[in-house]
Symmetry: C2
Subunit: 271 residues, 2 copies
């Protein structure tokens, strides 16, 4: 396994190779690992990028304290059979003080996560596009945990005619149901317990949705279960992130975002 | 020669081929032809796109009356040995009502042309990026006539890590000095005469700049020669489109934009 920080050097290494690519911000957990394993199964060459992208963090968010554990990450990648880790620094990725920017779609990029984190997806799409252009993967792997991000990246592939197949990975959970997240390390054990109410409410809604298709009614039942400090949204959308009022068979996603203590958590369930 | 309108069909055709690419809005003239010839000399496969891109026209500009002459363009390409014409329609290129957008750099994308045509370069970069992703050229050809566009496209290649070499073509002029432009057809013969004062003033400044390095003084001399109806700007920049006050040897561009009658013309000279 090679660790490379220079985009042009990586591009040279990967020239004419069929690459499976897993972009990450590091602090790898079983969720990332499941994507890496999938990539390992499906591609000759596997590249994992580790880059905490500043442009997708808003003022006052946790950019500075976002967990960094490069050594552990390298070990995890090595054990998983990764061929290249791309770990650039900020100057490698942002080479201009007056850059060309990517704007997320006006509606679907500025609702839900985009509403509570305005500009977040601009930064996500910008860095993912840069990474795609450097790595030129055949397949790229993203988790369903970040459902809106996944949807927007698929849209970017379509809108910009990228020749890349986007592969979705299932959300990985603790036995308790808590969705894995690098941000879970911020949670105290008491907070972690209450955080479980998020996945519980989603599971409940999924079960009820077999009979009850009305989203407002489902939302009310979810509210009864939820025990978090500040709910930002419970939302019902189709796979392309249009709001829905009635559950559509095999085309609906229920999403939650909110704070437990000072930690912002998101989760969702694909129906 | 094949004419293709479907992006995915074109991509299939070009798979694993070394392509030289000349993007145009059609109404081809000797300026385009010089780029096509250059591409023909330097590449196995030459692709010319013909697409009048709506997103780079502002409200009230000449989108509707922009000259369209596909038959003549096809003939010109055929004679020049072009392999593929890509002539998509709007729906081929814009497949979403809520698209991901490209924003030109805040400073260099919104001065000069970007000041008088705000948002123009957003549209230019958006369509060029889409075309690049479809055609995946090794080399792409742009004329120096659109100097700021050329500079921004080179910046996009750098910022977004595109693996494409941008080749510059010299501005082609009538014997009189008038820079070729698809918009010249709008000019009456009287207007055409006065339009010559643009290239004359540029040539004068180039000559004077051998001794006089002060841009303000050069500008004053240019103003004496210019005989157009509305001057929008005379500007002095370096090759990366930073404003300059003193001419820098082999790194300066003088630019002019203005109206002759109702026709907006631009021209420039690289020193």
């Amino acid at each position: 396994m090679k660790i490379i920080d220079n985009p042009y050097e990586l591009r040279k290494e990967l020239k004419n190779k069929e690459v499976g690519f897993v972009p990450t911000m590091g602090a790898l957990h079983e969720g990332h690992l499941s994507l890496i394993k999938k990539a390992r199964n499906e591609n000759k060459i596997v590249v994992v990028s580790i880059f905490v992208n500043p442009t997708q963090f808003l003022e006052g968010e946790d950019l500075d304290k976002y967990p960094k554990r490069l050594e552990a990450d390298v070990k995890i990648c090595e054990l998983a059979g990764v061929d290249y880790i791309f770990a650039p620094n900020i100057e490698n990725m942002y080479n201009d003080s007056d850059e060309i920017l990517i704007k997320a779609p006006k509606v679907r990029g500025y609702i839900l996560e985009g509403h509570f984190r305005p500009g977040h997806f601009d930064g996500v799409l910008q860095i993912v596009l840069k990474l795609f252009n450097i790595v030129k993967p055949k397949k790229a792997y993203f988790g369903k945990k970040d459902a809106q991000q996944l949807s927007l990246i698929k849209q970017m592939v379509k809108n910009l005619f990228l020749d890349i197949e986007i592969i979705e990975g299932e959300t990985i959970r603790e036995k308790t149901g808590l969705a894995l997240s690098s941000r879970n390390v911020y949670l105290s054990s008491e907070e972690k317990k209450r955080a479980l109410s998020i996945s519980k409410s989603l599971k409940l809604a999924a079960k009820l949705s077999l009979k009850e298709k009305n989203c407002n009614k489902l939302k009310k039942e979810m509210m009864k279960v939820l025990d978090i400090d500040k709910l930002q949204y419970i939302a019902f959308v189709d796979r392309e992130f249009n709001y829905i009022h009635e559950i559509e068979e095999k085309n609906s996603i229920i999403l939650i975002a909110g704070f437990v203590g000072n930690t912002r958590l998101i989760d969702n369930i694909y129906l």
